[in-house]
């Protein structure tokens, strides 16, 4: 019995001593760090920091007194705000009233009072951070800026004016930590941030404060990336430069194809349609150049006579012929005043002459041989058989160049709408220093006037600077007169110079008495040469007409006919040569009286 009591006592003693060594119980320490905050000036919360609890379970109680009142109240809510806190709701909160708050810690051994704290709710306002922070990259004249906007914390009643908040933002680049740029935004709820780095990624945060209170926590971070406009700017600059220089670049890459152009010729004249102007524009006063070196080149060295297959001669020039034929001939010496010959576009069909040059060469040569009085030394056959031609000077028509092939092809086309006129290409050569003046006779055919049977009459269309008026006594070396001797079986017109005119005709300069020559009075609208028969007084326009009856065959005409010439006013009635009278007339066309070809 005693033994058991002793054992129990020993155990109890051990128990107590053991406990007594490990722990000592004491009354609690007073709490500290009493802190109260109000988020919206309508409620507030106080927190405290408990001290040592003395080893015993300790309870905490908060008591408060309002200003000028002795009533002590206890905290209405210990739980809403968490551990060691006291929450005052709207009913328990008075603004502009001094609260005297203290916290009491109680345990089994005692209690401890904390230091009292005086608070006025209006001065302890610490709002929640602003909400709905948005950051947008905007552009101002090409430079980007950040448009930051936010809203006040939803609990703070700014709408009624109960609470007034001011804001502050901070911005930094993502890679630069702790290098924030602060911006004070006042009471506004949006803000612009300039001077951005292009391509940079920015972080933006905002916080707020009542006009007398504490700053809120920083809001949640907003991330934004500024587009890399610098490279875009460079790209834009390059594009702009490219655009500005696109014209010259285009010229570099795709050089423009030069178009045909006549130096010194105004294309607008063509549009006006006034042939006089065109013609006068075509006249180049100093052409051909009077250099002696070129003389030889330009010298026509041989004579070509081209007789087309179609026998019928048509003197009438038509515009169809013109299309096919190109002629540019020139004579350096114009001893006559017959400017018309020079001014006309294509006086003779060069094409017609040259296409068949290979074929005709032999004919030419033979015909040349037969002619008399030719100054043969001036006639040089080109070894290649090509005709040397003057460079085209007067060319409202397209130039075909000196390529014989071109000429051939163009002649083919010319033949298609060619006249049935046969024309000769005659090129008298002179070795005179006055230079060659030659006449090109172009025979061309007109299909619709084709009369295979008729052979006799050949109309010669010549372009000549030969002063035909100087017939007879005045033997100007620059002038040559030819007359048709005969037409051989090969449809060649054999010419002979008229040498002894004087002998034939009485009153040399006064040709009118001779029956062999007739004066050209003009060209009518149908491109018919109007000849005046002198002497008889009859006025007919013979020979040169297209529908000539060739049977007379004695019509000598050497005329300057321009294929494109606008016929002059016919001073005489043009009569088709089908009439009998016309045929018999032998006459020459006096080109001297032609003068400038007036337009019809």
């Amino acid at each position: 019995m005693m033994k058991s009591v002793m054992e129990v006592l020993l155990l109890l003693m051990l128990f107590f001593t053991a406990h007594a060594k490990e722990k000592s119980y004491s009354p609690p320490e007073k709490t500290t760090q009493t802190r109260c905050r109000s988020p919206e000036k309508e409620t507030f919360t106080c927190w405290w920091e408990p001290g040592s609890d003395g080893g015993l379970p300790t309870t905490y109680a908060l008591y408060y007194r309002k200003e000028n009142s002795e009533t002590v109240y206890e905290c209405p809510d210990y739980h809403t705000a968490g551990e060691n806190s006291c929450f005052f709701n709207k009913n328990d909160t008075s603004i502009w009233v001094n609260y005297n708050i203290s916290v009491v810690a109680t345990n089994a051994l005692g209690r401890a009072f904390s230091d009292p704290v005086d608070i006025d709710v209006v001065y302890i306002v610490e709002p929640n951070p602003p909400e709905k922070l948005t950051v947008v990259v905007m552009e101002d004249k090409g430079w980007p800026f950040l448009l930051v906007s936010w809203e006040p914390p939803h609990k703070a009643d700014t709408r009624s004016g109960w609470i007034t908040l001011i804001y502050e933002l901070r911005v930094r680049l993502e890679e630069e930590e702790d290098d924030w740029e602060m911006h004070h935004a006042g009471q506004q709820k949006m803000f612009n941030i300039f001077s951005l780095r292009s391509g940079g990624e920015y972080l933006v945060e905002v916080r707020c404060k009542p006009d007398h209170g504490f700053w809120s926590e920083w809001s949640s971070t907003s991330y934004v990336k500024v587009p890399d406009f610098f490279s875009a700017l460079i790209f834009l600059i390059l594009t702009w430069l490219l655009h500005m220089n696109s014209h010259s670049l285009k010229h570099c890459i795709l050089p423009p194809v030069p178009g045909p152009k006549i130096k010194g010729f105004d294309n607008k004249l063509l549009k006006n349609g006034n042939s006089d102007e065109i013609f006068s524009a075509l006249v180049v006063p100093n052409f051909p150049p009077a250099s002696a070196s070129k003389y030889e080149e330009m010298l026509v060295e041989y004579l070509e006579v081209y007789v087309p297959e179609e026998p019928e001669l048509m003197l009438e020039e038509s515009k169809d012929l013109l299309d096919g034929c190109l002629k540019s001939l020139n004579s350096r010496s114009d001893s006559d005043s017959g400017r018309g010959s020079c001014n006309s576009h294509t006086l003779l069909m060069d094409k017609c002459g040259e296409t068949k040059e290979e074929e005709r060469q032999t004919n030419r040569e033979s015909s040349l041989m037969e002619t008399q009085g030719w100054k043969e030394e001036a006639i040089n056959h080109d070894t290649s058989g090509k005709v040397k031609t003057w460079p085209s000077v007067y060319s409202p028509l397209p130039q075909y160049g000196s390529n014989p092939l071109d000429k051939q092809s163009s002649l083919e086309t010319a033949k298609q709408h060619s006249l049935s006129t046969s024309s000769f290409l005659i090129q008298p050569g002179t070795k005179d220093a006055l230079g060659p003046s030659y006449t090109d006779f172009c025979l061309s055919n007109k299909e619709n006037h084709l009369h295979p049977q008729t052979l006799a009459h050949r109309a010669l269309q010549t372009r000549s600077d030969v002063n035909i008026s100087n017939i007879g006594c005045k033997r100007s070396p620059a002038t040559e007169y030819v007359e048709v001797q005969r037409v051989n079986k090969e449809d060649m017109v054999l010419l002979q110079p008229v040498v002894s005119r004087c002998g034939h005709i009485e009153g040399c300069p006064n040709l009118p008495k001779g029956e062999d020559y007739s004066k050209l009075k003009g060209v009518d609208c149908d491109n018919r040469l109007l000849l005046q028969r002198e002497g008889t007084g009859e006025d007919v326009c013979p020979c040169v007409e297209q529908e000539t009856n060739r049977e007379g065959g004695n019509c000598y005409t050497s005329s300057t006919v321009s294929t494109t010439q606008k016929p002059t006013a016919c001073m005489y009635t043009a009569m088709p040569l089908q009439e009998e009278t016309a045929v018999t007339l032998n006459g020459y066309v006096d080109t001297a009286t032609m003068g400038n070809l007036p337009s019809c």
């Binding site: 502009w96 009624s160 007034t164």
Partner: protein
């Protein structure tokens, strides 16, 4: 030389032509004045009340640091304006209505005219304290702002009555004699404690005035962003 002269003349001309012309502001719409709107008046008044509160708050905290470095000194103080019934939370303030709110503001402002001038005089007279030397200017500034604020509120009240926003029941018949602050004025000298109490009380009352004016503005001129 001519260019310089030309430049100078141009600048002179520009300066003369771009002179800013200002018109005097008057509240009664006299001829030649620019009459401010109610929003402008409220803006001005709120700015003044905010400034007044700010200065007084600074003064009070400086005073506390200088004279009472220990914090949480509990004092039983009673402001002389305690009997002016003021709403002490948002709901009560909004329940009051414009007329009563305006009256409260006016009463508050009127109650402080005298005490502030007394404070200033007391501070300036007591040259022994270094603090008084420094703070008397601020007291003077506060007093000046209060005076302007009183005038401003009067003008606003008149304008609101004119606009029909405020009924004519709002009067200025509350004489200052009713305010028990006269008890203070009898004292010949206001000691430091009194200064401290005054400053404390005024800080609070200026805050009240500022807040009430804001509420008044936002209820009279409602805006989404008040």
């Amino acid at each position: 030389m001519e260019k310089v002269l030309f430049a100078v003349l141009t600048l002179v001309y520009l300066e003369l032509s771009m002179r800013v012309v200002s018109a005097p502001i008057c509240s009664y719409g006299q001829a030649g004045c620019h009459v401010p709107s109610l929003a402008d008046l409220f803006e001005r008044v709120i700015q003044q009340s905010s400034r007044m509160h700010s200065v007084s708050s600074d003064l009070h905290s400086e005073f506390e640091q200088y004279f009472f470095p220990r914090k949480n000194l509990i004092r039983k103080r009673k402001c002389h304006t305690y009997d002016i019934l003021t709403p002490e939370d948002k709901e009560n303030a909004q329940k009051l209505g414009r007329e009563q709110l305006t009256e409260v503001i006016v009463r508050l402002l009127q109650a402080w005219g005298e005490p502030l001038s007394e404070l200033y005089q007391s501070m300036s007279q007591d040259q022994n304290q270094d603090f008084n030397l420094y703070s008397s200017n601020k007291a003077l500034e506060i007093s000046g702002i209060l005076h302007e604020l009183k005038d401003g509120v009067t003008i606003i009240t008149e304008k609101m009555k004119l606009l029909g926003v405020l009924s004519n029941t709002v009067g200025y018949n509350s004489p200052e004699s009713l305010v028990p602050s006269s008890a203070f004025y009898t004292q010949a000298d206001l000691d430091s404690m009194d200064h401290h109490d005054l400053l404390y009380c005024f800080r609070r009352d200026s805050n009240k005035a500022k807040n009430y004016l804001r509420i008044l503005k936002c209820t009279t001129l409602p805006e989404p962003d008040c």
